[in-house]
């Protein structure tokens, strides 16, 4: 099924989407494609906060910017943002990929688990336990695939990769002030 919407959409557009292709020509409100399971959601404009929150699968493409908490608690979705993302994006991100072609706000990847983050532009202060990691061939390959699927012109080599340092997976008193 394909759903095309000309114009902006409000809260939770394409929420829990399963299998459908949803094309939105315009901006999107809070919780775009939240908890998406599969399928494709493409927004030509920008998205408000919590885009792709807790989403389990599928591909979310935002041509413009995404506000705060993009990809919060994501669980397997792939998100490609053409512009910038706001603070605390990929907060507690569990699995999946967040590709940011612009800049990322402060707190990126705070308390991240096993999700991958790719950023082309600048990052603010990284969130707790989020670190830059080497961009290995398998990541180039993954990034190539996602950029192609999203119709992006950027080259994978221009990106840096971020992920979990895995230092906070189990509580230790010496890390008490890392949070």
């Amino acid at each position: 099924m394909t759903v095309r919407i000309d114009g902006p959409v409000g809260y939770y557009a394409a929420g829990m989407n399963q299998a459908a292709v949803v094309e939105i020509t315009g901006h999107a409100g809070v919780g775009l494609a939240e908890n998406m399971m599969s399928g494709l959601v493409h927004v030509t404009g920008s998205a408000s906060q919590s885009a792709g929150a807790t989403a389990h699968g599928g591909l979310l493409v935002i041509d413009g910017d995404a506000a705060a908490r993009c990809g919060i608690s994501m669980k397997g979705v792939s998100i490609v943002v053409g512009g910038n993302v706001g603070h605390m994006s990929a907060f507690m991100a569990q699995a999946g990929c967040l590709v940011i072609c612009g800049d990322a706000g402060d707190g990126l990847g705070d308390s991240i688990y096993e999700a991958h983050i790719y950023v082309k532009g600048r990052t603010g202060q990284l969130g707790a336990d989020c670190v830059e990691k080497p961009l290995r061939p398998e990541h180039i390959s993954q990034l190539t695939e996602l950029l192609t699927a999203a119709g992006r012109p950027e080259h994978p080599e221009e990106f840096r990769r971020y992920g979990s340092a895995r230092q906070l997976y189990n509580f230790h008193v010496d890390h008490a002030f890392s949070y």
Partner: protein, 484 residues
């Protein structure tokens, strides 16, 4: 608490633990210090000393299961006024006293029909074994009531054995998917929990097995500390839209509950009503948890008794009392507690800790095994540790296989039947042909605190603290009147 599990990482018994908060008596020599004239410090009692020593030695705070252990104003502090000259009772074993309750008729096309007003509270697979979840489903279904998922998604054990299943929608959204939403009989949007209002879920690494990790999309063995806020809404106006989304996904069939931890129940209930809830679940601070910091359990939130009248006020002020159902949990142990909660204005109650005890938690027959892990039967609260010899709060296959879900489910059904019959005994004595006809006027308080919180007069007086004295009020319903 036992001092043996002292923080987020599992630890063994500590030298200070066994003689402090466990079942130990006196000192190691067997001589009672008090008999020698020694006096324990009320401020720095042995449990406090142990906690301070433990913090100093390990750098860890205590995490445990269960609810608040401190003495709190509770249902024990209320008494029923049985019928006498001015009211006539119903025959205890002969006259009908109905127990059914309908939840969710405000907006849902398919409200929940329960045979008894005692439901099973949300408890996750992960915190509990698969066998325990199956037993809860079996027990609840045997007596026509509902059980509830938890912070870990829906399991086949639970869905398959629960005639009526409430599916929790939590901040973490572990395992959340539209298929399970549609398979559920009701949806419970969880904002908070009585043991930790303002806190998120917690499941420590020793219980994050391959299956649990897979259901939650987490690495095996990590300490899971869930979000305390929903990721895509921040207030009642957003929640209204979120509830509309959930209704749309489920074709407006399922009742939508909103669960709150008791802290500011008047405003929380008022806002949940505004957001479109069909029912409110109100969990007081005696409500249990699988794993939470001791300091959180004991120092955040308000007692169940104090929370109910405020919640009822909000429902009445909205003109929706009995239309939006109020389900109360947190320290419900007996039919007397059920009756008192209903008399104060609840439509149903939920049990969690009592249900686990019915399954076999803290069984005296397992005392030797509890002692091996630094606790004792009647004291065991290390539900976070995954070492439960009863096979309930564990993911260890050997331990969990000890629990027979059929027998344990039947024990739970027995408890639910007894609680219901006890509540009926009280209701008939008060002249009520339905449990929901119980009313505040049937109650008096034993303590000033309970009188003030429950807003019932101190027994033998017409004094309610904070309110002008008034003569006893006439009954608000005709005796024997059945509930719709």
């Amino acid at each position: 608490m036992t001092a043996t599990t002292t923080g987020p990482t599992p630890t063994g018994p500590t030298p200070t633990g066994s003689a402090t908060s466990g079942p130990a008596t006196g000192c190691a020599t067997g001589i009672d210090p008090a008999a020698q004239g020694l006096r324990e410090n009320a401020t720095f009692d042995r449990a406090t000393i142990a906690a301070i020593r433990q913090a100093a030695q390990t750098g860890l705070y205590d995490i445990r299961g269960g609810g608040a252990k401190r003495r709190l104003p509770h249902f024990d502090d209320l008494l029923f006024l049985g019928a006498s000259m001015s009211r006539y009772p119903l025959e205890g074993y002969r006259e009908r006293c109905d127990t059914n309750v309908v939840i969710g008729q405000r907006f849902a096309k398919r409200p929940i029909q329960l045979d008894i007003p005692v439901t099973i509270a949300g408890m996750s697979f992960g915190s509990l074994s698969g066998q325990a979840k199956e037993a809860l489903g079996r027990g609840a279904s045997e007596v026509g009531t509902s059980t509830t998922t938890g912070d870990g998604g829906m399991t086949e054990e639970e869905r398959g054995h629960s005639k009526t299943l409430v599916y929790q929608y939590l901040p973490s959204r572990y395992g959340m998917n539209p298929r399970h939403l549609r398979q559920a009989d009701a949806i419970e949007v969880v904002l908070g929990q009585g043991a930790k209002p303002g806190g998120g879920g917690m499941l420590l690494g020793q219980k994050i097995t391959e299956r649990v990790a897979g259901m939650r999309t987490l690495p095996i063995g990590i300490d899971q500390r869930s979000a305390c806020r929903h990721p895509d809404w921040t207030g009642p106006d957003d929640l209204r839209i979120k509830i509309a989304e959930l209704r749309e996904i489920t074709d407006w069939e399922k009742p939508i509950y909103v669960k709150i931890g008791a802290s500011r129940p008047y405003y929380d209930v008022a806002l949940a009503i505004k957001a479109g809830a069909d029912a409110i679940v109100l969990d007081g601070m005696q409500g249990g948890t699988a794993a939470t910091q001791e300091v959180f359990i004991e120092h955040v939130g308000i007692p169940t008794l104090a929370a109910i009248p405020q919640a009822v006020d909000a429902l009445q002020d909205a003109g929706l009392h009995r239309e939006v159902q109020l389900i109360v949990s947190g320290g419900i142990r007996s039919g007397a507690d059920v009756a008192k909660a209903l008399a104060l204005g609840a439509d149903a109650v939920s049990i969690g800790t009592a249900a686990l005890i019915a399954l076999g938690d803290n069984d005296p027959a397992l005392d030797a095994e509890y002692r091996k892990i630094g606790s004792a039967a009647g004291y065991y609260d290390d539900w976070q540790a995954g070492q439960d010899p009863a096979g309930i709060t564990t993911q260890d296959p050997e331990l969990s296989s000890r629990l027979d879900p059929v027998a344990a489910g039947h024990r739970l059904a027995n408890l639910l039947r007894v609680m219901t019959m006890e509540a009926q005994i009280i209701a008939r004595a008060c002249g009520k042909a339905h449990l929901l006809r119980l009313e505040p006027e049937d109650l008096v308080a034993l303590t000033i605190e309970a009188a003030a919180m429950a807003r019932r007069p101190l027994a033998g007086t017409n004094w309610i603290p904070g309110e002008p004295s008034t003569p006893p009020s006439p009954p608000s319903s005709a005796p024997g009147q059945a509930c719709p």
